[in-house]
Structure formats: structure tokens, C-alpha cells
């Protein structure tokens, strides 16, 4: 049986549930010579801010067991340069484009989202409410701020709004419910985990900012748990994210409740892994005679009654 991989995420039609993860795929068009970009479910850009941002000092990357620790610090060219350059190339690829947005205050989020929403070629905005690499606090540690940003952005934008959260919150359910009540159209669970690694030769932290965010295969079970908990409490769809290396990993997130998944670290290892994951999802579901990937979203919850 041929399995249908189409999903509808907050009104966006995706030909398959595999997305790039923000911050791991550049502005989205640069790898056209290495993989067929139009085979992807959607492209999520790296996070864009109102003004350009230099990012953090070196070193920014450290490898850990089965993962990567990073402190890039949202290096990007700023929303206006993004619109003039990358956006035009992105919109020609022929897959939905989701632009990741961050700011240092609610008004920056809102203004950036407003500027983007006036442009064609964008299918949704993903609010990065969770980057752990800004010197100030992580926004999603403050429920009032989350609500203020989501409501503010919804007021200025007709695009579907997705909120991406840090997994390091007291209660993931509480925060996704607040986001849903504030009008969000979907959530991404989850970003990297705050983490640290130390060089035992130099006795110094391996990152310039001492702490960073860890991603990769090592975080997957913890992020699957976030998706599972959130699915039981909200109606809006979930993008599962965290250490997806194979089709099996992606299906695990979908079974826990994700409508789509985003792949990051694995595509840094090789961009071809994105296409491999799509093929593997199809192979596994066909082997199990599943008619549509939609049929298995969140069914681990249902099987528990």
C-alpha cells in the first residue's frame, strides 16, 4: 500500500511532515546543489531579528556524546536584508516557508512579524521564544511575556503563528496552554536543552558563553516526552523537534502527538539526511500498511484510553 505523507499543519499543506529546524539550515536556499529542496515538507529559516545580529564570540560549537552544544547567538542579517535577499530565493523553491523570529522585547517580535507579514512568500511565522543564548532571560520562562508576544503578533499578522519553546520550563503543559489561549496556531517542541561542557586540558568551558544549548540524538527521548505531554492538553498542532536522525525517530514523535517534525542536527551532519528521513518514514508506514501518516498522529495517547 502507498502511504500518503501529506499533512495539514495549521492550514499549511505539507507534502510530507519533515521540516528543517530553525538555525540549522541557513536561510534555506543555499544547499540546492546538494539536495532537492522541493522534496522537503517545509523550510524553517534561521531566526531573524529586527536588526542584524553579530552573534556570540568563538568558540560557538562543541561536540558532545551523540550531540552538539552550540552558542551561535542568533547571528543573522536582520529582517529587512532578509526580505531583500534570501526571501525571494526561498519563495521560488516551491515549498512552504516558515520564518523564525526572535527579539529582545515583545515590541521587537511584533514589529519583525509585522514587517514579514506584509510580504508574499511566507506561509507561517515561528516565534523563537526559547533561544537560550541571549544574555537576557529566556522568554518562555515568563508566561505573561509569552501571552503578550503571541497576542501582539496575532494582532499584526494574518499568518499562522507557531510558538517554539524551550524544554526547560517548570511545566510544558502550562506554557503550551497559555500559548493556545493567546491565539497561537501551533507549537514547536522543543528547542535545545541548556547545557555545558568543560575542556579538561585547559580547565575552561568549551563555549565562549560557558553555557549553550545541546541538540542531537542524545536529547530525543526528553523532547518526545514534551510532545506527548502537550498533545494531551492542547488542540493546536505540534511540530516535534529534538534529535531526529532517522525515519524511526520521526515516527516516534508523530506517535507521541506531532503533526510534523523538524530536523536540525542531523542535517548539519549531512543535508541528505533530510531526504533519507522522508524516505524512511514512507518505507516504515508502508511496511505497516498505514494509509496516511495522519492516521498515527498521537495514537500512543489514544491507546492508553
Amino acid at each position: 500500500m502507498k502511504t500518503d505523507l501529506n499533512v495539514n499543519f495549521a492550514g499549511i499543506k505539507l507534502k510530507n511532515p519533515v521540516l528543517t529546524a530553525s538555525g540549522t539550515f541557513g536561510y534555506g536556499y543555499e544547499l540546492a546543489d546538494l539536495i532537492s529542496l522541493n522534496e522537503l515538507g517545509a523550510i524553517v529559516t534561521k531566526t531573524i531579528t529586527l536588526e542584524s545580529c553579530d552573534g556570540n564570540l568563538q568558540p560557538r560549537i562543541a561536540e558532545v556524546e551523540s550531540g552538539i552544544l552550540n552558542t551561535i547567538g542568533l547571528q543573522n542579517i536582520g529582517v529587512r536584508a532578509f526580505i531583500e535577499g534570501p526571501l525571494e530565493k526561498l519563495s521560488k523553491i516551491g515549498v512552504p516557508v516558515i520564518v523564525s523570529v526572535a527579539g529582545s522585547s515583545p515590541s521587537e517580535y511584533i514589529e519583525t512579524a509585522e514587517i514579514l507579514s506584509m510580504k508574499n512568500g511566507i506561509s507561517a511565522i515561528e516565534l523563537n521564544l526559547s533561544c537560550p543564548n541571549l544574555k537576557k532571560r529566556i522568554i518562555c520562562h515568563d508566561l505573561r511575556l509569552v501571552s503578550e508576544i503571541v497576542r501582539g503578533v496575532k494582532n499584526v499578522s494574518k499568518l499562522p503563528i507557531i510558538a517554539k519553546f524551550s524544554p526547560l520550563v517548570t511545566d510544558i503543559v502550562e506554557i503550551v496552554v497559555v500559548a493556545q489561549d493567546s491565539g497561537v496556531d501551533g507549537v514547536t517542541l522543543a528547542n535545545t536543552y541548556p547545557a555545558m561542557a568543560i575542556d579538561i586540558e585547559t580547565f575552561k568551558p568549551k563555549l565562549s558563553t560557558f553555557k549553550g544549548g545541546v541538540s542531537g540524538a542524545c536529547i530525543r527521548p526528553m523532547s518526545v516526552r514534551c510532545v506527548y505531554d502537550a498533545y494531551q492538553s492542547i488542540k493546536v498542532p505540534i511540530i516535534g523537534c529534538g534529535g531526529i536522525m532517522t525515519g524511526e525517530d520521526a515516527i516516534e514523535f508523530i506517535l507521541a502527538g506531532a503533526t510534523a517534525v523538524s530536523v536540525g542536527s542531523s542535517s548539519l551532519v549531512s543535508p541528505k539526511n533530510l531526504i533519507k528521513i522522508i524516505c524512511e518514514i514512507k518505507d516504515i508506514l508502508e511496511r505497516k500498511n498505514i494509509k496516511s501518516v495522519k492516521d498515527i498522529i498521537g495514537i500512543v495517547n489514544k491507546s492508553l484510553g
Binding site: 538555525g23 540549522t24 539550515f25 541557513g26 543555499e30 544547499l31 546543489d33 546538494l34 534561521k46 553579530d54 552573534g55 568563538q58 568558540p59 560557538r60 560549537i61 562543541a62 561536540e63 558532545v64 556524546e65 551523540s66 550531540g67 552538539i68 552550540n70 551561535i72 547571528q75 542531537g216 540524538a217 542536527s265 542535517s267 548539519l268 551532519v269 549531512s270 543535508p271 541528505k272
Partner: protein
């Protein structure tokens, strides 16, 4: 524009050349033709998460097209790699922008007090010798190699450079071969204004070289390194300031003009 390929290739050999140093030769077919000095490949090593960047040490048409890499066993990844003697490896490349092989200085009109020809001066520190080795075979004007290492057992490929026609100046930190001290000590005395500089080595050495080049108004190129995850510009891990702008070592470099680098 790009001729980079992401593929499994066969190992021709992976052998110890000296103490902790290994040479890895991979059959890449026609891909060798698009390799230029200063470029690198990301190589997947089973058992570690990320691929590792390796500078191209040589590329030729032998056995239907091969690239070679020189590496020192320094950590878990290179340790595992050094034990793989045959089979396939995942390689992505060639990546990045290499050295400019056209002379930078010859076009300047000769004035009275500096009328000698421009010479190519190549400088290597430690495993920086890998990309300098490839470069040495492709530069037309062969003048002097300045090569510094910790000890005699860390000096590699000396015969190859001599056979190619390079004058070789050596230094070791322990004095076991050549000048005792840093290679930059000699370079600072011998580098001439009209020389074109090509350098690859550890960051402290490059900082020193940039200083020398600035003082003497010498033009040239240096190859930089930083930790990187993807080699393609996507992770933005290897950002460096070039002419006050953020550039990616993996994509915009690793080779930059000496006068533009801010280390």
C-alpha cells in the same frame, strides 16, 4: 557554481606516516579535479556525532582520481579514524574557498629600491603543513617554505617540498631540528616587502604572522580554523571577523586575505 559532492568513497589507504601522524587517501574519481589548495572535506567517522573538517593535502589522477589528507591523532574522532584501514567513508567536499594562486605583487610597478621579483613564501605550523603541501605543488613560483613544529618527529613531507624546488627553513620548539624557537622568529627577519605570503597553522602563529605582514606591508593569504558542525555555512559555528564583517570560515574561507583578517 559549487562542485561539492556528499558521497561514500573507498579508502585507498590510511597509514601512519610518522609518530602520531596518518595519511588518508580516498578514491574520489573526477571530484579530484575540482579540488584546489586550501579547500577541505567533511569526513564522517563512525562512532562520533559530527563529521570532521580535513584540509586537502594532495589531489591527483592516480587510481582514477584521489584526494589525500594528513591528520594527527588528537582526540576520539581521529583515534577511531586511524584504526580504519579499508572500506568506505562518507565525505562531503571539496568545500570552502582556497588560496589564490595568481601572484598578488607582480603587477605593482617596480620602483628603484625594490626591484627584485616577487617571491612566494609559504608558512606552515604543525598540521597546517597539509594544505601548504597541496599549495606547494600548485604554485608556479617556488621560493621558500618556513615550517615550524614542536619537535623533529612533527616535521613531515620535507623531501617532497625539496623535490618540488622549495627552499626549506625549519624550526622546532625543542631545537631537535633547525632553528630552536618559533618559525615566526625567522620569518620576521627574512620576509621581504614584495613577497607574497601563504600561511596555515595554529591561531597564535597566524596572529604573529599577521602582525609581521602588517609591519612589512606584505600581501598574502592565511587559512583559518574554528570548530564547525556542518562545513556548509548552516550552523554558523565558525564565524570570524573579516574586514569588520561576520564571515564563515567554512564557506567564505578558510583562506582569507591577510590584510582583511581580524584575529
Amino acid at each position: 557554481m559549487y562542485k561539492r559532492v556528499d558521497k561514500n568513497y573507498r579508502i585507498v589507504y590510511n597509514k601512519k606516516v610518522q609518530s602520531h601522524y596518518f595519511e588518508l587517501k580516498i578514491k574520489v574519481g573526477d571530484v579530484y579535479k575540482s579540488c584546489s589548495p586550501g579547500q577541505f572535506f567533511m569526513i564522517g567517522v563512525p562512532g562520533v556525532f559530527l563529521r570532521r573538517p580535513f584540509g586537502i593535502c594532495d589531489a591527483d589522477d592516480g587510481e582514477g582520481g584521489c584526494v589525500s589528507f594528513l591528520y594527527k591523532v588528537v582526540g576520539k574522532g581521529t583515534k577511531i579514524l586511524s584504526n580504519i584501514k579499508s572500506g568506505m567513508l562518507q565525505l562531503l567536499g571539496p568545500l570552502g574557498k582556497g588560496y589564490d594562486l595568481e601572484p598578488l605583487v607582480n603587477i605593482i610597478v617596480c620602483d628603484n629600491d625594490a626591484c627584485d621579483n616577487s617571491n612566494n613564501v609559504i608558512v606552515a605550523g604543525g598540521t597546517g603543513i597539509a594544505s601548504i603541501h597541496f599549495l606547494a605543488s600548485r604554485l608556479k613560483n617556488k621560493s621558500t617554505l618556513y615550517y615550524g613544529a614542536k619537535s623533529e618527529s612533527d616535521l613531515l613531507y620535507l623531501d617532497n617540498f625539496r623535490k618540488l624546488g622549495w627552499k626549506v627553513v625549519l624550526s622546532t620548539e625543542d631545537g631537535s631540528k633547525g632553528y630552536k624557537g618559533y618559525i615566526t622568529d625567522i620569518l620576521s627577519k627574512q620576509l621581504k616587502k614584495r613577497d607574497t605570503l601563504f600561511a596555515c597553522g595554529p591561531t597564535p602563529m597566524l596572529k604573529e604572522i599577521l602582525e609581521i605582514a602588517r609591519k612589512k606591508n606584505v600581501l598574502g593569504f592565511a587559512s583559518l580554523e574554528e570548530k564547525m558542525a556542518c562545513g556548509l555555512g548552516n550552523c554558523q559555528g565558525c564565524a570570524v571577523k573579516i574586514n569588520r564583517q561576520n564571515k564563515m570560515i567554512c564557506k567564505d574561507g578558510p583562506v582569507f586575505k591577510v590584510e582583511d583578517i581580524e584575529l
